[in-house]
């Protein structure tokens, strides 16, 4: 019996793997002719948690939220490919990664955090580049067509900024002209966001999207 002990121990260790087939990956959502798999969602949850400094949540509801975000990403990605937008260069990618790494202090802390979240450096870099790509996409695709009128700037100033400025600088009369550029940029960004949301809504309507509920259990 003692002769078989090592073999039995090894068998016991591998028992779960030999016991039955395991799912390696599966389709969670299909968007047009692209798919988002279970592993994609898992990675999205980890990466988002890392960037937000939160604990990864793999509950079905949270998986569903992550899937929704990834559907939007997939739609944007399809648009980027179809329209041949200029993508960030390798130097851009290195720069954003360097900036992100600086948040974690030293290299060892950075590595430890990545390991804790189960995220590789390549995942993180790709995620950051994707953020950059999106910002540029919004700038190129939506911002140029946005015009902000004087009335809108004045309304924003009166409704959102005046009270804050009076409170911050009592006794001074705030002037809209001093804050015109700042307000204009804010309003352009808000309008761009609204257009992005509208565009996503329309793209979802146009695209065949199918959720596979089994993947969210």
């Amino acid at each position: 019996m003692r002769r078989f002990a090592p073999a039995l121990a090894a068998l016991a260790l591998l028992a779960p793997a030999f016991a039955h087939p395991e799912i390696l990956d599966r389709i969670a959502v299909s968007v047009g002719n692209r798919v988002i798999t279970q592993i994609d969602i898992d990675r999205e949850i980890r990466l988002t948690a890392l960037l937000n400094g939160e604990k990864p949540d793999f509950s079905p509801a949270h998986k569903r939220e992550a899937a929704e975000r990834m559907v939007d990403q997939s739609l944007v990605r399809a648009e980027l490919e179809a329209s041949r937008y200029l993508l960030p260069s390798a130097a851009d990618a290195d720069a954003v990664l360097k900036q992100e790494k600086a948040r974690y202090g030293d290299e060892s802390a950075y590595r430890r955090i990545l390991a804790e979240y189960g995220v590789t450096e390549e995942d993180l870099k790709t995620g950051l580049v994707w953020q950059l790509t999106l910002v540029r996409f919004i700038d190129v695709r939506f911002r140029p067509g946005i015009q902000i009128g004087d009335d809108e700037i004045r309304d924003y100033f009166n409704n959102h900024l005046r009270a804050t400025l009076l409170q911050a600088h009592p006794g001074q009369t705030p002037s809209v002209d001093d804050h015109r550029d700042e307000i204009e940029q804010t309003l352009i960004a808000q309008a761009a966001n609204r257009q992005v949301e509208q565009w996503l809504k329309e793209a979802r309507r146009r695209t065949r999207i199918q959720y596979h509920d089994e993947a969210f259990q």
């Binding site: 793997a17 799912i23 047009g32």
Partner: protein
């Protein structure tokens, strides 16, 4: 500010799908393990093993990487053939067994309606509303909206009690889904008194009457359908329009169904709006013209854009009338006391004539070539009496001349105009001078084409416009792009792309041109799937297929096949599509879904003929015919697609006071699978008195083989057997000839015909050739009582002269001759076999079928055994775009024998008809979609004169052997008379 954008970006953040090294912890244990086996579940997959192996990055014996698993799922899914994919793994002693579990996708195949279809809506409308498109992905959840949309359509047509049940059948082999909707339409609801709200300004009864939803005279209400609802609303609007309330708004709020009475109550909301008056101030314009020019009337609303459009239309109208400086403005609508007034202020200015269009500076193109492309036209006597001119047309012409030059490499061309009013000192005369500065012509110095690997480059190059030394223009590049991509598309490269660039060449005004082609992946036909066949045989459809398995997937071939299937005449609808068009695979199913046409078609028609066909049928008056009227009725019944082979059996009947005809025809196209050959059997009964000399009963049977050798040439081989009985009592000829001409005529005839048709438009030809030739032999061996042969040929050519004029001519020649020696062919050949000609489509100097020899006593036509005719027409535009004119000259006649054919123009005595008649005339053509409506007035220069007999048949019998040379003491009843110099014809279609 950047934070806001960042928020969106953060929201959308994720890593790219290709990067999957951070696999889930529970599956990490498989990473790097050797793959012992790859299995698919189910074992039968829509893709072949080779295709699967080609797609999968996972290989047996290689290490398993989760990134490859992810890529495998993505690639398999991208084929479009799978709806769901899961990859399992099991670690066994020899390595990992990878199991790929798939669920197939399904695609829409045949969608049909079964059960009784209560039209409207028809089957096609019901299928369309489902939005289940051939070849597109299908999911069961698509059925509910399809069913709902179908039910909505049925409800809208009053079929509220209808029931629809889908029946779905799946074909796992082809992944096609057939969806048959089983329909029980139920009874159709009736209208009931509508509920009308709003400011109607009209009594309820009148409004209800305007809808026409209530039955006229018999009372009660009509059944509901969409068309009636729409027409009802239009009827109410129209009623308001007639009262001058052009802004009336009539809206259908709802159709409320009362299930107990199966009635539907329409609810209308009406705002009658004010009484609208439109005034033209400053110029006289009729109300009818105002209505046609100002869209306010048609659109039932008044807004700035419609008023502006109205002013522009009025200005164009005045400019077209010669008021080239016309200015039109409008005053906004004023509403006072329920009256709206719209005033158009018109300053027509001086009336002009465009008398000269000068083109200067052009060297590369002739002025005529430029003029042909222009809308501006000089004043002409008839077509445009004041010319055609407006500022907009002038700009359009400048643009089109500029484009013409640019297309030919003159990139710097500039076209300017100068207008001279009071040209040559004549007030109101206008001259337009177009000054063209051509500039240098840019030429292609070199053409470099990159990327053509899978097609014949030399062949493709030979089709390009932008060759070395040729003009360089973006237009030519665009043409080349279409040629290249068209060729790739035809050869199954749907994703081929074309890019071009140019740079200046060392020589001045020359460019080096580069085309870059990205071919993409070639696609092939996996198979051709045909659905929807019920009675039609598959073999017949297969014979029309231009695509077969493994052919390059050509959209052109798909469309050609679709057209050929329509040409079979047995399908009401032929849809074609590629299954799973977006799927990333190299071989695709090509789908054809057909709907068979109704097997029976019935058509009835009423008509009338006005011509010189009058006069009493059993008296000897008016041998040249009197103006007469013959109403007719026709009935056609056809049984199509007999035995599923596209063959047809038709009955065509016609009854008029001149002709009673019944024809049964059996046509079998594609004899022995040859699409060129068509075989037909025909049986005919005809009782006709269209030739005024006699009434004949014709019984005829024929068999004909048509061989369409090419698009323009058809041969016909025909055997005909006919039995013609001339009614002796109707023969209006000399009694001496009656025994000869009243003989029954039995003819067995074999004939060969050739038709060569190279006309650009058979209905209204402008150029081309049309030749026909018919040669027949009727020897006794074929069953004829008298042996004779016949030849009839016609050659017609059409020559455009400039852009406006067409010279058309046609020459006909025919002879009939006994095959055995007979001295007089006219008496040897049975009367009904003679050539009878003259009239609207032959020699217009004669009434219909009145040319040629005549009876020496009665003057009625006897026809002849030879025919020679020539027609010449000059066709030209006359008034505006749709009315044309024709000047014509017809010459020729029907002769008693071939040897009697003569070109002399004078008639030698009253018994001589072997001379050439000449007629000139003028005609008007009005262009319609079914061909030009034709009115011809001919003047015969030398019409025949002949003896006619005044008296009855009895008088003729008693008149002796020579009625026109009676012995002394007897009355001479023969009176010299002739055919009128003037003939008129009214019909549809050109003369030839």
């Amino acid at each position: 500010m950047g934070m806001v954008r960042l928020r969106i970006a953060r929201y959308l953040t994720a890593c790219l799908l290709a990067c999957v090294r951070s696999a889930a912890a529970q599956t990490a244990g498989y990473e790097g393990q050797p793959i012992a086996n790859i299995q698919f579940s189910p074992a039968d997959q829509p893709l072949t093993s080779a295709e699967l192996a080609n797609l999968l990055p996972l290989k047996k014996g290689a290490a398993l990487h989760l990134a490859d698993v992810h890529a495998a799922i993505q690639r398999l899914y991208a084929t479009g053939d799978f709806e769901d994919i899961q990859v399992d793994a099991e670690l066994l002693p020899g390595g990992v067994t990878v199991r790929i579990i798939t669920k197939n996708s399904w695609f829409v195949g045949n969608v049909a309606i079964e059960g009784r279809i209560s039209d409207p809506p028809n089957g096609g409308q019901l299928v369309n509303v489902t939005r289940l498109n051939l070849g597109q992905p299908f999911e069961e959840r698509d059925l509910e909206p399809a069913q709902n949309d179908m039910k909505r359509l049925l409800d809208n047509n009053g079929l509220y009690r209808s029931q629809v049940r889908p029946e779905v059948s799946y074909d796992p082999k082809t992944q096609q889904v057939s969806v048959h909707f089983v329909l029980d339409p139920g009874p159709r609801a009736h209208f009931t008194t509508p509920a009308i709200t709003g400011d109607t300004k009209m009594p309820l009864n009148e409004l209800v009457g305007a809808t026409h939803w209530r039955r006229w005279l018999i009372g009660g209400w009509h059944t509901v359908n969409q068309s009636r609802v729409r027409k009802g609303l239009e009827g109410v609007r129209s009623r308001y329009e007639r009262r001058g309330r052009f802004e009336a708004r009539v809206a259908l709020k709802s159709m409320d169904y009362d299930a107990d009475g199966n009635r539907s109550k329409p609810s209308l909301d009406i705002d009658a709006g004010p009484l609208v008056e439109v005034h033209a101030i400053g110029a006289k314009v009729s109300q009818g013209k105002l209505r046609s020019l100002i869209p306010v009337f048609e659109e039932h609303s008044v807004d700035e854009s419609l008023l502006f459009e109205g002013s522009r239309n009025l200005r164009d109208y005045f400019q077209s009338q010669g008021y080239f400086d016309a200015e039109v403005e409008y005053k906004p609508q004023r509403i006072v006391n329920d009256k709206a007034s719209i005033d158009y202020l018109i300053n027509p200015g001086t009336r002009h004539r465009l008398v000269w269009i000068g083109i200067e500076g052009n060297k590369y193109f002739r002025s005529e070539a430029i003029r042909e492309r222009m809308f501006l036209m000089r004043a002409s006597l008839l077509q445009f009496r004041r010319g055609r001119y407006s500022g907009a047309l002038l700009r359009r012409d400048e643009d089109s001349i500029g484009s013409l030059y640019k297309m030919n490499g003159f990139r710097d061309v500039a076209v300017k105009h100068k207008i001279v009013d009071g040209y040559r000192g004549k007030k109101g005369d206008l001259a337009v001078f177009l000054q063209i500065a051509e500039g240098p012509q840019y030429l292609v110095h070199s053409l470099d084409i990159q990327g053509i690997a899978k097609l014949d480059k030399a062949r493709l190059l030979s089709q390009l416009s932008s060759d070395e030394g040729q003009p360089f223009s973006e237009y030519n590049v665009a043409v080349d792009r279409d040629v290249v991509l068209g060729e790739y598309s035809t050869r199954g490269f749907p994703n081929a792309t074309f890019e071009w660039s140019s740079k200046p060449a060392p020589d001045a005004h020359q460019v080096d041109l580069t085309y870059v082609v990205h071919e993409g992946q070639q696609q092939f036909v996996r198979d051709v799937l045909i659905s929807g066949l019920k009675g039609t045989r598959r073999s017949m459809v297969d014979s029309k297929m231009e695509l077969k398995r493994d052919d390059p997937l050509s959209p052109n071939a798909m469309r050609d096949t679709q057209r050929q299937l329509y040409d079979l005449g047995v399908f009401a609808r032929v849809d074609t599509a590629i299954q799973n068009p977006d799927g990333d695979t190299d071989s695709k199913y090509v789908l054809y879904d057909v709907e068979e046409a109704r097997k029976y078609s019935i058509a009835t028609g009423f008509g009338a003929e006005f011509a010189k066909i009058g006069g009493c049928s059993n008296c000897l008056e008016a041998p040249a015919g009197q103006n007469g009227f013959a109403p007719d009725f026709s009935l056609d019944v056809s049984r199509l697609d007999l035995w599923g082979l596209g063959q047809s059996l038709s009955f065509r009947g016609r009854v008029s006071t001149l002709d009673q005809r019944a024809l049964v025809d059996y046509t079998a196209p594609r004899v022995r699978g040859n699409s060129r050959l068509t075989l037909s059997f025909t049986a005919l009964y005809d009782n006709s008195k269209d030739v005024r000399t006699f009434t004949a009963q014709r019984e005829e049977g024929s068999v004909q083989l048509a061989d369409r050798l090419s698009k323009s040439i058809t041969f016909l081989y025909r055997y005909t057997y006919r039995h013609v009985i001339v009614d002796q009592s109707t023969l209006k000829i000399s009694p001496l000839l009656i025994p000869l001409f009243s003989q029954p005529d039995r003819v067995g005839e074999f004939s060969w015909s050739m038709i060569q048709d190279r006309r650009d438009d058979p209905i209204d030809t402008h150029k081309g050739i049309y030749n026909t030739m018919d040669i027949s032999a009727a020897p006794r061996a074929f069953g004829s009582q008298i042996s004779f042969g016949r030849f009839l040929g016609r050659n017609a050519t059409y020559h455009p002269i400039g852009r406006k004029y067409v010279l058309a001519r046609a020459t006909s020649f025919g002879i009939i001759h006994p095959l055995q020696g007979v001295s007089n062919p006219l008496t040897a050949i049975p009367l009904p076999e003679h050539f009878f000609s003259g009239g609207a489509t032959s020699e217009r100097g004669f009434p219909d079928l009145q040319a040629g020899p005549r009876d020496p006593v009665t003057g009625f036509p006897l026809g002849g055994t030879a025919l020679l005719m020539n027609q010449t027409e000059l066709r030209f535009p006359l008034l505006g775009e749709n009315i044309g004119g024709v000047l014509f000259h017809d010459m020729g006649n029907v002769y008693s024998s071939p040897s009697s054919i003569s070109f002399r123009t004078d008639q030698h005595g009253l018994g001589d008809f072997d001379y050439m008649n000449h007629a000139v005339g003028f005609g008007i053509r009005y262009r319609t979609p079914i061909g030009p409506v034709r009115l011809d007035l001919a003047y015969s220069i030398n019409p025949p004169r002949f003896f006619g007999f005044q008296g009855s048949f009895t008088d003729l019998l008693n008149a002796g052997v020579k009625p026109c040379s009676p012995p002394p003491g007897q009355i001479d009843r023969c009176v010299a008379q002739g055919i009128s110099h003037f003939q008129f014809f009214f019909s549809i279609g050109q003369t030839f």
